[in-house]
Point group: C2
Chain length 390, copies 2
């Protein structure tokens, strides 16, 4: 009666969801304060006041039709102009209205790009560890996701494995830096090497940069990838930077230099049309334009990351230093990361197995939670480690 595939996609519980529900159940039993839930990537720094103030001002002073009317599908041209100029001011680029397509967040942005590009038989390549929805989204547009094996020493790129996976079927490469789940930021050298390989490959390949965590980088630069490679599509979201994940607002940058700009922008519009995009929420288009370029305070995440990292290292864990996003991705203390995360539950430490992200043997700890909860969790991590290491 219904699409078997959609039923499966809608009902197969993700590991993260299962862990989250376990946490809710345990919280009811032992109290919220005794649950150490590192499972969700939900920003806990409140939305900045300037965002709220901008929304209220727009609601109070603009004509309702200006705020709530349909916009053209790529978004309000004035907003796109402001966003383009803001990007230009920051990265020395030269984008204009026509280079910006406003979307309902980054999930929409990347899926629209996948759908715009994919033809039957196409392959997309990404790098473990990776956001598991990539596989769902890529397969939903009829293409196949190929995954480059992880490079655990620094979570940069294993270029030998990448070259092995490149093929005439490769339509696009997806990178996500700062990375969920590893917290790594791809260095300028990594981007240079990656894009050099793409240039040398002798075939048009798109580079899709999924950048919802761009603003969340701690003392390292996040290279602006259109500087390195012409055929780049940048997908951005305000979910994390402005703590607006529920409002669904982001954009795609389509540079003039991509192979056949008009074809690609047209295909993005067509993909958006059949992916239920009519326009990105119109109030939030105006709000993000009003707030373009305003700095956000990432010190709470940076502090959390440092406390958790130092605590884990002190407890005997191995972990790459946090560089961005709000995740640590330490090595599990046994080869089976599922078994390890199960054992952590004994202490009500809720962690996500790395296998879910294509990197077995590791685990993800999201530190976008209360600092005090992190501090109180450290003795428990210590106890957990002692089970293995003593």
């Amino acid at each position: 009666m219904v699409s078997a595939k959609m039923y499966e996609l809608g009902t197969k519980k993700s590991t993260i969801r299962t862990i989250f529900e376990f946490g809710r159940k345990r919280a009811a039993e032992v109290g919220e304060e005794n649950i150490f839930d590192f499972s969700l990537g939900n920003p806990n720094v409140p939305t900045p006041d300037f965002v709220r103030d901008a929304a209220i001002e727009i609601l109070k002073t603009y004509e309702p039709a200006q705020v709530h009317g349909y916009t053209v599908a790529p978004g309000n041209p004035n907003v796109r102009d402001t966003l383009a100029k803001s990007i230009n001011a920051r990265f020395g680029t030269n984008f204009a209205v026509k280079n910006i397509f406003i979307t309902s967040g980054a999930a929409a942005a990347i899926t629209i790009c996948f759908k715009a590009l994919a033809e039957p038989g196409d392959e997309f390549i990404t790098f473990a560890p990776y956001f598991p929805e990539y596989k769902v989204f890529v397969e939903s547009v009829g293409a196949e996701l190929k995954v480059v094996k992880p490079r655990p020493e620094d979570w940069q790129i294993d270029f030998d494995d990448f070259k092995r996976l490149l093929s005439p079927k490769t339509k696009a490469v997806i990178i996500n830096s700062p990375n969920n789940p590893s917290g790594a930021v791809y260095s300028a050298e990594t981007i240079k090497q990656l894009t050099d390989i793409l240039k040398d490959y002798g075939q048009e390949i798109f580079l899709i940069c999924d950048e919802p965590y761009r603003e969340l980088a701690y003392g390292v630069d996040v290279p602006w990838v259109t500087d390195y490679y012409e055929n780049t599509l940048v997908c951005y979201s305000y979910s994390k930077s402005f703590s607006l994940p529920g409002e669904r607002i982001g954009y795609i940058v389509v540079p003039d230099e991509v192979a056949d700009f008009n074809k690609i922008f047209g295909a993005i519009a067509g993909a958006a049309r059949v992916l239920t995009h009519v326009n990105a929420p119109s109030l939030w288009q105006l709000v993000v334009a009003k707030c373009a370029g305003k700095a956000v305070d990432i010190t709470p995440y940076e502090r959390n990351g440092k406390i958790l990292y130092d605590g884990l290292i002190a407890a005997g864990f191995e972990c790459v230093k946090p560089q961005g996003a709000f995740y640590l991705f330490p090595k599990a203390l046994e080869a089976d990361d599922y078994a390890f995360c199960e054992r952590a539950k004994k202490y009500d430490l809720l962690l996500v197995p790395g296998a879910d992200f294509g990197a077995p043997g590791y685990f993800r700890a999201a530190y976008c939670i209360k600092t005090e909860t992190i501090e109180r969790s450290l003795p428990l991590f210590k106890k957990l480690a002692t089970e293995y290491l003593s």
Copy 2:
């Protein structure tokens, strides 16, 4: 390099778009006040103050994370509870949280339903005249749209043609009442007869009710279809009732009585997942709950419809009386509705050919524009008619 199909969908200009752009060009030449643009279904009654006030109050008084955080994919449970109760109070139904899936407007709601249901080889049936995106959305999920021929005397249903199109391949029937573009409201008799045919057909067929215009009915009842047929999915949007088309907020009602509720709700969740729905915009979820059941003033549309209808009849046009939505669908004064609409342009009357909606020989005039513009257009319609009728 890109998906040829997506490029085509994103670049082939719709007739409405072409007319709209012509209007913008003419407005620059002869002045905005001399253009009589009946081409767009964009609500012109301002968003009610209670909607704006609710949004401001939420922004000012709620915790940001409560307002802007992710919700579960079907939407905030408290909001769904409120919406279910509001529907129950109005229609004597018995819906609960689990029967509501909040979407980014009606376009998302219907496309999610199509995708949730469609399997290869499936057919969906709708009734001319119909919203042309149905064809795009149905084909985008791999199914075929079959169109029942129009019944111009009252724009109700041609049941003989409907029975002819029903087949073992029929997965669902799509109705849109009040109707875009005809302005008709399906009577209780029409709904009864339609659902009796479906019940007698001896195979599970879904009835998808696309109801963005439900509140816009003038002195006639809009039957609540779940009272007539168990296998009904109701798709609603606040775009027209609250004049919020840019904000993208609506819902799907999935009654307990649909064939295999869990399968369908699960498939809807799966379809939403791959159609870029993460959750419907979270602020607007809260706003529509706060405003649930509040009456909207539809008298401006009703007045406009009456003035335009009376004027067209006086000029010699044939037209079914306006019952709902904000469209008239009169008979063109020559068999070729494209030629007729071209000739109307001479007077800067911008009308949409009926063939675009599967009903050649008619035209759509959207009366969600200034009353004064409609009044000033009447002598021009008279002149246009005189060309044909004198």
